[in-house]
């Protein structure tokens, strides 16, 4: 079972929810944790995993063999991302534009293109809570593309676990889709403000594309207005939990504490939430 934690708006508390849920479940359930926010990964700061393996994340980019190349220009025509250009008597490769789709090499009429991995980030594998798998990715500074890293990170997930928790990047576009398109359940974290509501609606648009089950956690409850709750009750999305706005929570999180360590009552709340989600997924499958 895969549970993804997402939000359109940044800084609503995704990582807070993901890390506290992971820490609450880990002693009892066979879980793994994936931090898919490869541009700004933070879950490891809270769960302090022991990292025992680092692998490069890479994109396969074309290398042209000029002995073979007949300068026909087919690779230039085929590349949808403008990563290849015919300049004089040379095919130029613009590495950072390459998506690694392989179209150019697969379809070169004289097999003059081979593919070489180009590192765009790192995949880090370790464990937390003694032996629970913890995986995260890190985009290399100045590299633009995070989705290939998310895909590679997810291809390293363990299959023999009860539940996988995926901490999503913010936003509502490609990197978010790469994180949660195959999730069984998506927990949307929002705040009760006009920004929170606007970006929650974007995320509900994503969920309707992926077809996942979803529920909402309202964080910083009390800081804004009731528009988010009104919207949710009108549209039939359940409120899974409310986390109040309190200065001790903000301060505790800033210092690297888990929500369940700042307010211990939340440990049971996350365990109950997990049982409820499990039931809902079960119902969805058997009804």
């Amino acid at each position: 079972m895969k549970i993804a934690i997402a939000s359109g708006k940044g800084g609503t508390g995704k990582t807070m929810v993901a890390t506290s849920m992971a820490a609450a479940l880990a002693p009892i359930h066979n879980i793994q944790m994936l931090d898919c926010d490869v541009e700004a990964p933070n879950a490891h700061l809270f769960l302090n995993p022991t990292i025992n393996e680092i692998k490069p994340a890479s994109i396969n980019i074309p290398t042209i063999d000029y002995e073979q190349c007949i300068l026909c220009g087919q690779c230039v025509d085929i590349c949808e991302f403008n990563a290849l250009a015919l300049l004089g008597d040379k095919i130029e490769v613009f590495e950072q534009l390459c998506h690694g789709c392989g179209s150019c090499s697969i379809h070169c009429p004289v097999n003059a293109i081979t593919e070489t991995p180009r590192k765009i980030g790192e995949l880090k594998f370790g464990t937390f809570n003694k032996n629970r798998p913890f995986l995260f990715g890190e985009l290399t500074i100045s590299e633009p593309m995070s989705t290939p890293i998310i895909r590679q990170l997810k291809s390293n997930m363990k299959d023999d676990v009860e539940v996988t928790i995926l901490d999503s990047p913010p936003g509502a576009s490609c990197s978010v889709v790469a994180t949660l398109h195959d999730a069984d359940y998506v927990i949307l974290v929002t705040e009760p403000t006009p920004f929170g509501l606007h970006d929650l609606k974007q995320m509900i648009g994503v969920i309707s594309e992926t077809g996942s089950l979803a529920g909402v956690i309202i964080n910083r409850d009390g800081i804004g207005d009731s528009a988010v709750e009104d919207f949710l009750s009108k549209n039939g999305y359940p409120i899974l939990m409310k986390i109040p706005y309190q200065e001790n929570i903000a301060e505790g999180l800033a210092s690297g504490k888990l929500l369940i360590d700042i307010i211990p009552e939340f440990e049971d709340a996350f365990l109950n939430l997990y049982e409820m989600i499990k039931e809902q997924i079960h119902e969805e499958i058997y009804h």
Partner: protein
């Protein structure tokens, strides 16, 4: 026109971590700019989660479709089930035939828009179809003109959309004059849309939140901007929530030779202003946050124009 172009400066607001206060501070800055000789045009470059229009009472003057990506589509009539498309696709975007659905199909959400399958198909049964990925707007507001956009949920090419609206903003500034500054509200993170938001700007203002996550992500955005040789300054937000974190940011800034030009306290007037859909400097002009943002604005003008 080129001399005029040099007069128009660009300022981008970034943070690495989301939710540090980029948009609230941007809204206040554009309000202050409208009250000063340094009039601004402003841009919401967080096209995944565009919120600047919500707090600037923006009214759409123009709306344009953003058509950018392409998705493959298989014609079931022509498909001979040879499996070539499935073999070449690296995005798991080709769905195999099932009993219920005996044809090959493209999973739109996973298709990256490369044309590998199109070229591989011996039946020429696959076509690329243009997609509308979002809309962009030119709007007016009491604080100046605004360019902004909404990427459709689950769509691609946010970086291209950011580049497009920045180009339109620059053209507008060059053609019309009277706006010496472009203020860009940036997205979180350090990837494609952040790079598109900050390429070639004159200054980046980083809104830093004290704490472990805030410091970690600040470091990454600083390194990214250094790579692209973009001058940067820092403003600390929610400073009173975690004193130790403030010290860490100061130490980091000094080590990296980045000036800290503002320190805002956590102030409930900021969420209250947001709920009222107003910049904090309009909603509560003498609140602690507003007073600090006014000082910040004075310093920014000096750095940009002196």
């Amino acid at each position: 026109m080129s001399s005029l172009n040099k007069v128009v400066k660009e300022l981008v607001i970034l943070s690495g971590k989301g939710g540090t206060g980029k948009t609230s501070i941007t809204a206040a800055l554009v309000h202050l700019a409208s009250q000063s000789p340094t009039k601004s045009i402003f841009v919401d470059a967080d096209v995944d989660a565009a919120n600047l229009a919500l707090v600037t009472s923006a009214e759409h003057l123009e709306q344009h479709d953003f058509i950018s990506s392409k998705l493959a589509q298989i014609d079931p009539e022509r498909c001979n089930l040879c499996n070539e498309c499935y073999e070449v696709c690296r995005y798991d975007a080709i769905e195999l035939p099932t009993e219920a659905n005996p044809t090959y199909r493209v999973i739109d959400l996973l298709c990256d828009g490369c044309v590998s399958c199109v070229y591989s198909c011996p039946q020429s049964a696959i076509k690329m179809i243009d997609q509308q990925d979002g809309v962009w707007f030119f709007s007016s507001s009491p604080y100046g003109p605004l360019f902004h956009a909404e990427l459709f949920p689950a769509a691609e090419n946010s970086g291209k959309l950011v580049t497009l609206i920045r180009q339109r903003t620059k053209q507008f500034a060059e053609n019309n004059g009277g706006h010496p500054l472009i203020i860009i509200d940036g997205p979180p993170g350090i990837g494609c849309p952040v790079i598109a938001s900050s390429t070639g700007v004159d200054l980046a203002l980083l809104v830093a939140e004290p704490g472990l996550s805030g410091s970690h992500d600040l470091r990454r955005v600083v390194q990214t901007l250094e790579h692209f040789q973009i001058p940067q300054v820092i403003c600390i937000n929610k400073a009173n929530l975690y004193k130790k974190g403030v010290e860490e940011i100061k130490y980091f800034a000094e080590e990296n030779n980045i000036q800290i030009i503002g320190e805002l306290p956590f102030d409930t007037s900021i969420p209250k202003a947001m709920v009222q859909s107003k910049p904090v400097t309009v909603f509560s002009p003498n609140s602690p946050a507003s007073n600090e943002i006014k000082k910040l604005w004075e310093k920014l003008q000096k750095i940009l124009f002196d």
